[in-house]
């Protein structure tokens, strides 16, 4: 879709537009010292102008890259616009990335300047200065702890702003002329994809890409300039960037920066967002909290909760989609709304939500249905960094939990012979930075982007995603094996935090499992099972039984699907440590790196293949301060019951697809 001509086509132009149109209305808020402090569009325009003048004086040139590292802070958002005003390209980083992970990106993009949040981030950059000699200037927002630093690279944001303020008054019109010389096709931002293999790739997105995607969302949902949005996710994630930056700048609504990571729930209740975006893990954490608090509630409340949640599961989703529901159920739901759903939505800070999205990974059906049944219009969408998150969205009034909905307006989607999804859309990225080969691989001559995801359209034209195309493999006997599918099924149990499935070219499917310390810990406490920490808890025989129950439920479920019955999980271990991005086991967006894990824990994988018993393991862990240590443990390899396939495929093959196995424990 084309952006209407005459409309501002870059973010800095949009800023000037909003400053003119709605200069007095708040653009961004941040909770500091217990109070929500607000800046209007007009105030923000001045801040950005000064900052841009300061950055220009410091030597930030058109086309150069500038690193932005930290939590959601207004000044970091202003840095994005200020850099874009000068035609420079901001590169946001995950704030929890360790110093060594940043080295590659700094070298790859030859980054000279960085604006960081605080001492923690400044320390990391100072550590990598020897490896990244081009890094010349680091400005920090929060001066705490940095007063006595004497490094020549360091300076405060305050000093940069002051310098810019003077420059701006000396050179009136400088800012406007810089903004005017930008074009929609210029690169707006570069985001590094976490990459489950190899080095991260810098995805270059233009203003046009992000604005097109934002306009499409705004039209689809009728977004207005009085929407309230909570800015709480990492700035380096495309989801956060699109929903809290690109759409914010395009539509002109308000974003609200949280006080600290621990206060999200309180902040959310205070703001009452009308438009909300959350990856499944956040929604899951919220649900876990609700469940735990309900278990501590009085008997009457528990009964009420159970009764009305059951009703909501039955009719809540139907009502939300505007379908026909019995009058008696309707009346009961209204009562439930008064007694349970309303107060619960309020406790979650979701009372005012008109539209909520979830994306980033697969969401469990129970979790998804839970929120929808409460009357919260939660929808799934499908997209990636490369597509500016512009592919498919579930339509209002027609949500099917196992699909991601039909393609958005302006998006063409095709399914290749191999099952891979390919697409074209205005949000499609320009290129991978300095990596023509990868760009050519991902985007073919006709402009089709190869997503690497496998999926198909259902009868109603909704897209259903199964797995990453290259992850889909075959067991030794040729049975289809979709690891992500198994992992997600396992992760949908509240007691399982992470799962890694193995099976490609192996005799059976097996799995490594991380328990959820909070949920299982709570479970153990209720049963009076003492434990000292994750490792201890994970090795308790009762916990192993608990997880075995989950695995067997997954198997029973798989057995019902003829295509997947063969990939039931025969054996599993509960890992002795939590998989961690710092150890390279997860990506920063918390996706498991299966290949890396298979290599690192080769001994466990072998034990899983060879049969039940025990297996000794030694693993290196990296602490938050960068030091490393070793953890040793002996793990139990546990066999799980598998089930006779009930579909027609098993019969056709003439032999049982699965075999029964008794448990050694």
């Amino acid at each position: 879709m084309q952006v209407e001509t005459g409309k501002p086509d870059t973010f800095p132009k949009l800023l000037l537009h909003h400053a003119r149109e709605r200069g007095e209305s708040p653009a961004i808020r941040e909770k500091e010292y217990g109070i929500w402090q607000a800046w209007t569009w007009g105030a923000m325009r001045r801040e950005v102008e000064w900052l841009a003048a300061g950055l220009a004086a410091a030597g930030l040139a058109r086309g150069a890259h500038i690193a932005v590292i930290g939590a959601n802070r207004p000044r970091l958002y202003w840095t994005l616009v200020a850099a874009q005003s000068l035609g420079a390209i901001p590169v946001p980083f995950y704030e929890d990335a360790i110093a060594q992970e940043m080295v590659y990106v700094f070298q790859d993009a030859a980054i000279e300047f960085a604006v960081v949040e605080d001492q923690e981030q400044a320390d990391k950059l100072l550590e990598i200065v020897p490896q990244c000699p081009s890094l010349a200037r680091i400005w920090y927002d929060d001066p705490r702890g940095l007063r006595h630093y004497t490094q020549p690279q360091l300076a405060s944001y305050e000093s940069l702003r002051e310098m810019g303020r003077r420059r701006a008054s000396e050179l009136p019109g400088f800012f406007e002329s810089q903004v005017a010389s930008g074009e929609g096709s210029d690169p707006a931002i570069m985001m590094y994809t976490s990459g489950t293999t190899g080095h991260p790739k810098g995805v270059v997105l233009s203003h046009h890409n992000l604005v097109s995607s934002s306009v499409a969302y705004a039209e689809l949902e009728g977004l207005r300039d009085d929407e309230e949005v909570l800015a709480y996710l990492p700035m380096a994630w495309i989801g956060q960037n699109l929903f809290s930056y690109a759409q914010w700048m395009t539509v002109g609504f308000r974003i609200n920066c949280i006080e600290s990571a621990e206060t999200v729930l309180t902040d959310m209740r205070e703001i009452g967002p009308t438009y909300y975006f959350a990856p499944p893990r956040v929604l899951e954490a919220l649900l876990t909290q609700v469940t735990i608090r309900m278990e501590d509630a009085s008997r009457v409340k528990r009964l009420l909760f159970r009764y009305f949640m059951e009703l909501a599961r039955r009719v809540g989703g139907e009502l939300l989609d505007g379908r026909c529901v019995k009058a008696s159920d309707r009346a009961l739901y209204a009562l439930g709304n008064l007694l349970v759903y309303g107060p619960l939505r309020n406790a979650l800070g979701m009372t005012r939500i008109r539209v909520a999205y979830t994306a980033g990974e697969a969401i469990g059906p129970d979790l998804f249905v839970f929120y929808r049944s409460l009357g919260i219009n939660l929808k799934q969408l499908y997209g990636s960094t490369e597509t500016s998150v512009m592919v498919c969205v579930q339509p209002n009034g027609g949500v099917k939990p196992d699909t991601v909905g039909p393609p958005m307006k302006g998006v063409e989607v095709r399914i290749l012979e191999s099952g891979e999804i390919v697409l074209r859309c205005p949000g499609l990225f320009r290129e991978y930075y300095k990596n023509e080969e990868a760009t050519r691989e991902a985007k073919d001559a006709e402009g089709w982007f190869h997503t690497g995801d496998a999926g198909f359209f259902d009868a109603t034209g909704h897209l259903r995603i199964i797995d990453r195309a290259h992850d889909v493999g075959k067991l030794a006997d040729g049975t289809l094996f979709a690891p992500k599918y198994l992992e997600n099924k396992l992760k949908f149990f509240p007691h399982v935090k992470e799962a890694v499935a193995f099976g490609d070219a192996r005799p059976h499917a097996t799995a490594m499992i991380n328990i959820d310390v909070q949920a299982v810990g709570d479970w153990a406490e209720r049963r009076g099972i003492p434990y000292s920490g994750y490792t201890d808890l994970a090795s308790k025989p009762q916990v192993i039984e608990l997880v075995r129950g989950c695995v067997e439920k997954v198997n029973a479920d798989l057995a019902r699907d003829p295509k997947l019955a063969g990939s039931q999980i025969h054996r599993f271990v509960i890992l002795h440590k939590e998989l961690d991005a710092d150890d390279g086991e997860l990506t920063r967006t918390r996706k498991v790196r299966r290949g890396f894990i298979a290599e690192k824990y080769a001994a466990i994988v072998q034990a899983l293949d060879s049969g039940a018993g025990r297996c000794a393991v030694e693993a290196q862990v990296r602490f938050e301060d960068g030091r490393t240590g070793t953890v040793r443990a002996e793990l139990a390899v546990v066999a799980a019951k598998t089930f006779e396939a009930s579909g027609p495929a098993a019969a056709a093959r003439g032999a049982p697809a699965t075999r029964q196995e008794q448990v050694a424990a």
Binding site: E32, Y33, G34, I35, D123, L126, E127, V129, P130, R144, G145, R147, H148, Y149, T150, Q151, E259, S260, E262, T263, T266
Partner: protein
């Protein structure tokens, strides 16, 4: 280039003149001599540790500075004024605040209220105006509240701002206790075993906060601590007590190599 060289360099804080000096302090409870002829000084902006085995007289010494105990002999000089002993309310008004080994918090009140209580001495408007929240009392409350919020921000306890203190884990309660003391904007902060009963992570956090307080506000800090590692890392100078006597006084390195200290801690062969 060596990585070590690029690690953040701490420019030395300027240590000022002695702000607090104790001369020949002796304290006895009946026949028991708790302190005998103890003399030492604390310089402005300094982190000064008092260490010693159990029963060495560390807490007694802190209580003498604090005015809870009256020494039988000796003289205390604080900011140029010499006295034979201190009075608790004077001490607080003169800018000395302290934290307690066994926490002194209002368990039934929120974190915010507890820290606000630390500003009690600075509240000027009368009880009547405060109760009705009218006139100058309101403006004053806003001012105090702002300062309390700065303390909350500084100690990173925003997430428990409105939580009742009794429900917090021990490590956080210790932090709130420090916050209550900081709210009084003290010149000198007395910390009685700030890390007692903490795990390593909590100790690291607390150490960082102590250093930051010293760094950001220039607060002079006198602390009693059992954990030798912590003491040696944090302090500028260390006083060592044993059976109520001062047996060593100097930088951590000097104290560590003192024979008297080794004997007191490890015992002497007879």
């Amino acid at each position: 280039m060596n990585l070590r060289e690029l690690e953040p360099q701490r420019a030395r804080r300027e240590l000022g003149a002695p702000i607090l000096a104790l001369e020949g302090i002796s304290l006895a409870f009946g026949g028991v001599k708790a302190l005998a002829e103890v003399s030492f000084d604390v310089r402005e902006h300094e982190i000064r540790a008092i260490i010693g085995p159990n029963g060495a007289g560390k807490s007694s010494l802190l209580n003498v500075i604090n005015g809870v105990y009256r020494p039988q002999q000796g003289r205390i000089t604080f900011r140029g004024e010499a006295r034979a002993h201190m009075e608790p309310h004077h001490v607080a008004a003169m800018g000395i605040a302290r934290t307690f080994q066994s926490l002194a918090l209002f368990k039934g009140m929120t974190v915010l209220e507890n820290i606000l209580a630390g500003r009690n001495l600075m509240m000027r408007s009368n009880l009547f105006l405060q109760a009705l929240r009218i006139g100058p009392a309101l403006a004053e409350e806003i001012r105090h509240r702002r300062r309390v919020e700065e303390v909350i921000d500084f100690l990173e306890i925003q997430h428990v701002r409105k939580t009742v203190v009794g429900r917090l884990p021990y490590g956080l309660q210790k932090r709130v206790d420090l916050g209550r003391a900081l709210a009084a904007e003290p010149k000198v902060l007395l910390l009685d075993e700030p890390m007692a009963g903490m795990n390593i992570e909590e100790k690291q956090d607390m150490s960082r906060f102590i250093l930051d307080v010293n760094d950001e506000f220039g607060t002079t800090i006198v602390l009693i601590e059992h954990d030798m590692g912590v003491v040696m890392d944090l302090s500028d100078r260390v006083v060592v007590l044993d059976y109520g006597r001062k047996i060593a006084d100097g930088t951590p390195a000097e104290v560590r190599s003192s024979q008297a200290v080794v004997d007191a801690y490890l015992g002497v062969k007879h």
